[in-house]
Amino acid sequence: MFEIKKVGKQTIKFANPPVILETSSIVGPKEGEGPLKDTFDYIADDMYFGEKSWERAERKFLEEAVKIVLNKRKQTSQDIDFLLAGDLLNQIISSNFAASTLGIPFFGLYGACSTMYEAIILASVLIDGGFAQKVIAATSSHYATSERQFRYPTEQAVQRPLTAQWTVTGAGAMLLGTPDQGEGPVVTFATVGRAVDAGAKDPMDMGSAMAPAAVDTIIAHLEDTGRRVEDYDLVITGDLGSVGRSIAIELANINGYDLSKNFNDCGILIFNPSQDTHAGGSGCACSAVVTCGYIMKALREKKYKRILGIGTGALMSVTSIQRQETIPAIGHAVAIENV
């Protein structure tokens, strides 16, 4: 008997919902001064994290996040079936190096800032499909390495526009397993996003580029599952920022959904307005550290029963931006519940 676990257009309903056994989050100093500072496992004193370059620091952030999750659960790399990881740097180099040190069988993923949620979905698929017992999903990003790759040298005299977002420095890791491995919140549904090209061209305004993709996925999720927005204690996007969030609320409203009550964004939560990041945080680590830190803490403390997280990514390259091409975007949704 072969049963398809897909419901509706783009949603997977897990037959034996994978359990989130443990999570870890590491951040840089700026994030460590933000409102979520108590939810992170470790706050690095400086952006170099004891390394000689920012790129090496980012690698170490990712490695350490995975090591923390292993230690918390008293596991070694040998106990883990697969590592699904990604980051923003060219050819996901941070993840490649981290994977080479960790020695866990590795899938490298790229979904820009949505990578953490892409990894959670694929990890859950591997587990529910019976291909793995324990899988780690992890991503990293670093303010300085992203600035250098996508924008300007860090010391360059430029004024950032008000729509600009601040790439989060840090890494998050999540250990998922089959239900017999332990207790914890479970992944019940995953809605795989479609790449949406809304015609946005400004790389300094990624909220505008990503909002349509996030709303497209949220609506698809609600239609596929028959759930309502109110069925979730929290609907949270990865890094739409303040601009993208307010656009998303309007777009949802046009389509007949009310997101004004229980809808927030990791990029808004992670920094204080006084930290002068403009529209909020972004980067692979943004949704990763907020999900693995703040959201998981709230779920474990039973503050939330059921949340819908949507990892959002702006799928651009340096070349496409220089050629004034549009920025396609994607949103991947995962329903996490206490059962």
Partner: protein, 166 residues
């Protein structure tokens, strides 16, 4: 068969239709998105740029007066002031202050010669890790390069015009 246009034509028409439909939807979305984009205050930014640019020029003028009073000719003093201002721009970039000055001052900090120094030193610092040839050597002028190219091209054009008129 009369009126039959063949599969190629209908698909071409459909393609055109889909294309314009997509374009229409993208434009419609951009109108919605624009409403949510916060606007920077042009007045405040212009004022800040004016004050910062003025401050940098005032520093240069003070240096000029000082150096002139020490007995240097105007031409000599000009050169010395330029050298000092370039050094200051580079130095403040090196110790990580110039980008904060530009955050407030905007174009007021970018346009003077100190900003030009910044645009060379910032990539040089950033790409030093790629080595002296492919890092500093190749990337140092990544921002200043276009300024130099078009500055020189403009000066040639202006020179030619001046040459023909005079």
């Amino acid at each position: 068969m009369a009126g039959f246009t063949g599969p190629e034509d209908t698909s071409r028409l459909k393609k055109q239709f889909d294309h314009s439909k997509k374009q229409y939807e993208q434009e419609k979305y951009q109108k919605i998105a624009q409403k949510h984009v916060p606007k920077a205050s042009i007045f405040r930014n212009s004022l800040n740029a004016f004050l910062m640019g003025g401050l940098i020029c005032a520093v240069a003028q003070a240096l000029f007066n000082l150096i002139s009073s020490a007995g240097f000719t105007v031409k000599e003093a000009n050169t010395i002031v330029a050298v000092i201002m370039i050094f200051l721009g580079a130095f403040l970039t090196g110790i990580g202050i110039y980008d904060s000055i530009a955050k407030v001052g905007g174009a007021g900090a970018m346009v003077p010669i100190t900003g030009f120094a910044n645009s060379i030193v910032a990539p040089a610092m950033e790409f030093k890790k790629e080595g002296y040839i492919f890092g500093i050597g190749a990337r140092m002028f990544s921002t200043a390069g276009p300024v130099l190219v078009y500055g020189i091209v403009t000066s040639i054009i202006v020179g030619l015009i001046a040459f023909t008129i005079m």
